[in-house]
């Protein structure tokens, strides 16, 4: 065997290299594992296994055996057990074995591949044979025994049936006797079918092998095979296409012909990227030319009666009963049954029982090739006609047919086949390709793959689909969250079927998720005019809620409730409407009513929980979802809402647990995965957050928040380049807040150019946004562009509500270059309490940033003076402990890591301790700052151990090194 020479081979996979064999190995993992495990045990212990892989031609036996050989040899080398096994891989077709001596010589030759010195002794066998054949056999057997002494002889051979035929009865007995007497043989063999020498009790090898049948591969495995082959041949686009629902539908056509036979898929692979009829016919005819001798040779091996049956089944094309076969083949039912049984055993015919009848059909539809090429009665090739019908819809074929008439001249061959395909479609009304699309549509629906469903439905619609096809198409787009496409498809649907209320409702849903509420309302009103009131009013209520036309929403919901009193969603809409109107007490009353009305109805409890969640009554919301889950632990919506509530309660780990479970049940739910990704990010499970973000992008490639989560998690993992690459994906988007966050991360990682990119994009979208100028100011400060920072601060100051913040940012810019006191003068004479509290967190953060900037640039020397000035600025707020919180903020910013020696810090903190001695709120932060600085500069834990436990715990977040060694 010329092993490892080829990357691809239809008929001799044994010649392929390991990489190629691995690349396209599918559907046989269990068998491979069973083979390798048993052989490994045979090599290591006294037990010996004899394994026989049984599968029809083209079922992947050679591939499996060749790959098993590669893996075995790798494992023999890795485990260093080469001295315990002698591996003999016989050629794929050992035609020349006619006696036991032949077999032994073949095995010795195979062993000589690894041990070339055996060759001289093998030559001696021939020499001896010319003098004394019996002696030659004894010599050969002894040579094999000597070579394999203390080792397991591992024989890998194919076509055992041929080998046994060559050995004959006597040779088989000799071989078995040798195996029994030597006790060191292990065998992995293949055969296309079981045969008498193995299955009848009076034969020496009866029951000798552990048989493993290589079953036909199913569609999914076939698609996996085709996709892997595509990747292996550099056709990644084709591989991607095959994994789409439309690609799967196309693969079904190939599956129909290949019928689970590995080799047939490989042969038919060439058609997969052909779109037009012109591209198909030539490769198909080439395939026919290639395969005809192969199948004709197989036919020749059959006895005449069996050939007759195969011929009948080839021409029949559909399953036939034994009675039909016997009648048409002019043989008795008993004879037919016997012959069919033998054909079944030989893998030519598949038998399926239905009631009292057994239906028979060809196991390999491609076998029809060998009959059809000889059938001169028809001008067309029926197999190709059938293929066309599985490849194209009848409409496509009819269009093609019409084109022939108007576009002469055309290839006669094309025309003949298309005409026949059209004729057959009209005659039997069957639509194999459309049927395949419907099967795929159902599969997408079951899997929640709404994008895939939309693709399939669009194909059905384009093929003259019905209103129902349109309806499902728009529905799928809505469920996939693609409002724009849903609207476009919905409009087209409404144009084609103007009187169909369902389509209008789907269009309205499209408008709704696209945020076009007015259009949604107008459309739903049109639908209401056409009927189906409850569903329309329900949607109308949803739209009205979004338009904040709460009273009308309530009216619509009430209308639905009148018709369907247990329509809990309507009650939820009413609650939302009431809450929206500020009638929270009434809303809560309805929520209470809902809980009382349906205390054992999880959906109702969850609806009420959503209300309490929206009101930030998170404990009550949690209580209700827990109750819902106690009634139905598998209630997925309850699980999801619980996750959302826990998220709002900042219990990110708990939220992740719930949402992880919910996501597993709804693998394509964008909302759930989105919140799960956030939960994981905030609970610092960064790797998993990245995985979920990537999955989200698989579901929805345009889900920009996923890039943000991915970028943030990568940044936290220190993989800043990858993070920036993820953030860059936000640039085409309009999400300014995401761009701002990305800019902040980029700035902190020192990639100012990336930060600039994000902020420039932000400015394009919303140039007057305060957040833009805040972040831009910070960026300029970090870059040392203080004038530009001051300008940005001035922009903030000029914006409504930005006066104080602008001044604080300006102070931060000054603090980067000048003493702290000078910087704080920029703020003005004093800070009004009202101003400060208007955006307290931001203002407090801005002051901490001023201090941090000063410390970063100048060390702590300006802190005592600056804090005194700050005390004066914040005089009106001191009683609220603001100064203490600012010092804590400084602590959390790890200010001691910045400039300044320990002495400087001790001096500065000592001065602060004196000047702020009267401020109780400042004492603890100052003590902690002192301990943290002392520890950071000396690495001496005693500074920390002087602090009370609770303060040490607070420091945990900023001094992780200490806790790692604790």
């Amino acid at each position: 065997m010329k092993q490892g020479m080829l990357r691809s081979s239809r008929y001799s996979p044994g010649n392929m290299n390991r990489e190629s064999l691995e690349a396209v190995f599918v559907g046989r993992d269990d068998v491979m594992e069973a083979v390798l495990t048993r052989i490994a045990k045979s090599i290591r212990g006294p037990q010996k296994h004899y394994i026989l892989l049984v599968g029809p031609r083209g079922s992947g036996k050679t591939h499996l055996l060749a790959l098993a050989y590669h893996r075995l040899m790798a494992s023999v080398r890795a485990d260093d057990v080469g001295d315990r096994v002698a591996v003999a891989l016989l050629n794929e077709e050992e035609w020349g074995v006619a006696s036991y001596l032949d077999l032994v010589v073949r095995i010795l030759r195979a062993l000589a591949e690894e041990t070339p010195e055996l060759n001289a002794e093998i030559a001696d066998i021939y020499d001896r044979f010319s003098r004394d054949p019996v002696n030659a056999e004894g010599f050969a057997v002894r040579l094999l025994r000597r070579h394999a002494e203390g080792k397991t002889i591992l024989l890998l051979c194919e076509n055992l049936m041929d080998l046994f035929q060559g050995l004959g009865d006597e040779g088989q007995k000799r071989w078995r006797a040798a195996i029994q007497e030597d006790g060191n043989w292990a065998i992995v063999a293949t055969t296309p079918q079981l045969f008498a020498a193995l299955t009848l009790q009076d034969n020496p090898f009866y029951g000798f092998f552990t048989v493993r049948a290589l079953e036909k591969i199913d569609l999914d495995t076939a698609i996996d095979l085709l996709a892997r082959k595509a990747v292996h041949e550099g056709k990644s686009d084709l591989a991607d296409f095959l994994r789409t629902p439309l690609g799967r539908a196309r693969a079904r056509a190939v599956h129909h012909l290949a019928a689970g036979n590995h080799r047939a898929y490989v042969v038919l692979f060439d058609f997969l990227d052909k779109e037009s009829l012109d591209d198909l016919i030539d490769p198909f005819m080439h395939m026919v030319d290639d395969l005809t001798p192969y199948y004709q040779d197989r036919m020749r091996q059959l006895p005449p009666a069996q050939r007759k049956i195969i011929e009948f089944l080839c021409l029949e094309g559909t399953p036939a009963t034994v009675k039909d076969i016997s009648t048409h083949c002019l043989m008795s039912p008993q004879t037919a049954a016997k012959q069919i049984g033998e054909l079944g055993t030989a893998g030519f015919v598949s038998r399926n029982r239905s009631g009292r009848n057994t239906f028979c059909e060809l196991s390999e539809p491609l076998m029809r090739i060998c009959i059809e090429v000889k059938d001169n009665k028809t001008r067309h090739f029926r197999l190709f006609v059938e293929f066309l019908r599985h490849w194209f819809t009848s409409r496509e074929l009819q269009e093609r047919h019409a084109a022939f008439r108007h576009d002469e001249p055309v290839a006669v061959l094309d025309r003949v086949h298309v005409e026949e395909a059209v004729r057959c479609s009209l005659a039997d009304r069957k639509e194999p390709f459309v049927d395949a699309l419907h099967v795929e549509a159902q599969r997408c629906r079951d899997a929640g793959d709404y994008r895939g469903l939309a693709t399939i439905q669009e194909a059905l619609v384009r093929d003259g689909g019905s209103a129902s096809d349109y309806n499902t198409w728009v529905y799928a787009l809505v469920r996939a969250g693609d409002g724009g496409s849903a609207v476009a498809a919905g409009r087209e649907a409404a144009e084609n079927h103007p009187a169909d209320g369902r389509l209008l409702r789907q269009l309205a849903r499209g408008y709704f998720i696209e945020g076009l509420f007015a259009d949604a309302l107008a459309t739903i009103d049109e639908a209401i005019a056409l009927g189906d009131q409850s569903a329309n009013h329900c949607l109308r209520a949803d739209v009205l809620l979004r338009l904040e036309r709460f009273e009308e929403a309530i009216a619509d919901a009430e209308a639905v409730l009148e018709a369907e009193p247990d329509h809990w969603h309507s009650i939820e809409q009413i609650i939302q409407g009431l809450a929206g109107r500020g009638r929270v007490v009434e809303a809560e009353a309805r929520a209470r009513d809902l809980v009382q009305l349906a205390p054992a109805e999880p959906s109702a409890l969850v609806a009420a929980a959503r209300f309490y969640g929206s009101q930030r009554r998170l404990d009550r919301a949690l209580e209700l979802v827990d109750k819902a889950l106690s009634i139905d632990a598998d209630h997925q919506e309850a699980r999801r809402v619980r996750g959302f509530v826990l998220f709002d309660m900042a219990d990110y780990r708990g939220a992740a647990v719930e949402l992880r479970q919910s996501a597993s049940c709804h693998p394509r739910s964008v909302r759930t995965h989105c919140r799960l990704a956030d939960s994981l990010l905030f609970s610092e499970a960064f790797e998993e957050a990245i995985e979920v973000a990537e999955h989200l992008l698989d579901i929805d490639p345009e889900h920009s928040h996923s890039y943000l989560v991915r970028g943030r998690a990568l940044m936290r993992l220190g993989r800043s380049e990858e993070a920036i690459a993820a953030f860059d994906q936000l640039l085409p988007e309009n999400h300014c807040s995401s761009l701002r966050i990305a800019a902040g991360y980029a700035r902190n990682s020192g990639d100012y150019e990336a930060a600039e990119r994000y902020l420039n994009r932000f400015a394009e979208r919303d140039p007057r946004n305060r957040e833009l100028w805040i972040e831009r100011c910070r960026l300029y400060i970090d870059r040392g562009a203080f004038d530009a920072a001051a300008e940005s601060a001035a922009r903030v100051e000029s914006l409504p509500g930005g006066s104080l913040l602008g001044r604080l940012l300006a102070a931060q810019a000054v603090a980067a270059a000048r003493p702290l006191g000078e910087a704080l003068e920029t703020v003005g004479a004093g800070v009004e309490a009202e101003d400060f509290k208007s955006d307290e967190q931001i203002h407090q953060g801005a002051i901490v940033a001023i201090l941090t900037t000063s410390v970063r640039k100048s060390g702590p020397r300006y802190l005592p003076e600056g804090l005194l000035q700050l005390r004066s600025l914040l005089a009106s707020l001191l009683h609220e402990g603001v100064l203490g919180r600012i010092l804590t903020g400084l602590l959390m910013e790890k200010a001691w890591r910045f400039a300044g020696s320990l002495d400087e810090w001790e001096t500065a903190l000592g001065e602060l301790a004196s000047s702020l001695a009267d401020r109780a709120d400042c004492q603890i932060p100052l003590e902690m700052l002192h301990a943290a600085v002392a520890y950071a500069k000396t690495d001496d834990e005693k500074h920390l151990l002087r602090l009370p436990l609770e303060q040490r715990q607070l420091l945990q977040e900023v001094l992780p090194a200490f806790w790692r060694t604790d």
Binding site: Y100, S130, R131, N135, D202, Y206, G207
Partner: protein
């Protein structure tokens, strides 16, 4: 313990044969032994275990004689086995040098008739050499697997006379060297069938009447359960379910270890935890699968092969009548059942047929409440027979 239907087991993993092996050693103390049973019941593994765990005072040599078609081949095979087993021993090397000059069949491409003509001498010398290799206190123990098949081969290839002569010669050797030589023959084809055929060819002797003939029995129910349980541990079966599953397997296939391995192998291929229904389905597969995976049809076809036509008809009559019976059947009951199909059947004919079928392991005689009763030896065969023939 590994699931290994048809493969070679580690002799340590052979379960449920200790009692038999103990008995065989006791028999061998006084006489030779003929063991018979159908293929795959584990005869070879019994021999291998006896060789591996040989009692002191014996020097065992295992040979599979299925491939032997002539007496020179047998002699060559004996020497080959000794060479392989003891070739490294210093006192054997001299013998090997001598043997290598024996039995040339061709010189310059011309056949030499001498070996065939003088085989008695050569065979006697071979055993003399073997006895010489051992010390005075050692008995040579020849473990001859598939001995009846060799006789069958000889009969077909060189004629019944040679086979008869060989049997007589071996008997003489056994009697002459009883202190130093023992034979243990096994065979899947019953030796009695080959002897009957030889008798019909003119041999009036009973050439193995110095040896004890025994059938290898099924392994006992508790041992079958233990074997099944040990194998089930290799599958995904929940540990708590294993005793129940093992018991079910033992009930379905009886004490036939090959079928136990087969059934567990099928359960292993399920890829999930097996249950009791799966056990029944796996056992049923042996009976009902269209390709007859257990080759149970062999029990019908071998009647044609080894029984005269009239005897075959009687055997089928008895087996067809016995298969549908829910419990073991007494001779009078069986006679009555058979007479419903063939009123002319004589009592003696039935008794002869029952004896023959018992010797051939189709049926076995058991003790009933009011006397002897008969039933199929294997539950699986009975089920198959009932489904396909009755």
């Amino acid at each position: 313990m590994q699931i290994n239907p048809g493969g070679r087991l580690d002799t340590k993993d052979i379960i449920g044969r200790d009692n038999e092996i103990g008995r065989y050693w006791r028999v061998l103390q006084r006489q030779g032994l003929v063991l018979s049973a159908e293929r795959r019941i584990g005869k070879t593994h019994i021999l291998l275990k006896m060789r591996e765990e040989c009692q002191s005072g014996y020097l065992p040599f295992y040979q599979d004689l299925e491939a032997v078609h002539s007496i020179p081949e047998l002699i060559r095979s004996i020497y080959g086995t000794v060479r392989q087993s003891l070739g490294a021993m210093p006192n054997v090397k001299a013998y090997i040098a001598k043997w290598s000059t024996l039995l040339p069949t061709k010189v310059g491409g011309i056949d030499l008739p001498t070996a065939d003509a003088s085989w008695q001498v050569l065979l006697s010398e071979a055993f003399d050499d073997l006895i010489d290799i051992g010390d005075d206190n050692t008995r040579i123990l020849m473990l001859w697997d598939e001995f009846p098949l060799m006789l069958h081969n000889l009969q077909r290839r060189v004629g019944a006379d040679t086979a008869i002569q060989l049997l007589d010669h071996l008997r003489a050797l056994r009697l002459a060297r009883a202190d130093r030589l023992r034979f243990l023959f096994t065979g899947s084809v019953g030796l009695h069938l080959v002897l009957r055929s030889l008798r019909e060819a003119g041999n009036a002797n009973d050439p193995v009447n110095d040896m004890l003939s025994l059938a290898v029995p099924p392994i006992a129910h508790p041992d079958t359960c233990a074997l099944a349980a040990a194998l089930l541990h290799e599958t995904r079966a929940a540990p708590a379910h294993i005793p129940g599953l093992a018991s079910q397997i033992a009930n379905e296939v009886g004490g036939f270890p090959f079928y136990v391995h087969h059934v567990v192998d099928r359960l292993d291929q399920l890829g999930r935890q097996p249950n009791l229904e799966d056990v029944s389905a796996a056992a049923d597969h042996l009976v009902y699968a269209p390709n007859d995976p257990a080759s149970l049809n062999y029990y019908v076809t071998r009647l044609s092969l080894y029984y005269p036509e009239d005897q075959r008809a009687l055997a089928l009559l008895v087996l067809d009548a016995l298969a549908p019976q829910l419990s073991p059947t007494s001779v009078p009951e069986l006679l009555n059942l058979c007479r419903h199909r063939d009123p002319s059947l004589a009592n003696e004919q039935l008794r002869e047929t029952l004896t023959l079928l018992s010797e051939d392991h189709y049926i076995e005689r058991r003790k009933g409440a009011t006397g002897a009763v008969y039933d199929f030896r294997w539950a699986l065969v009975k089920k198959w027979w009932k489904e396909t023939r009755s």
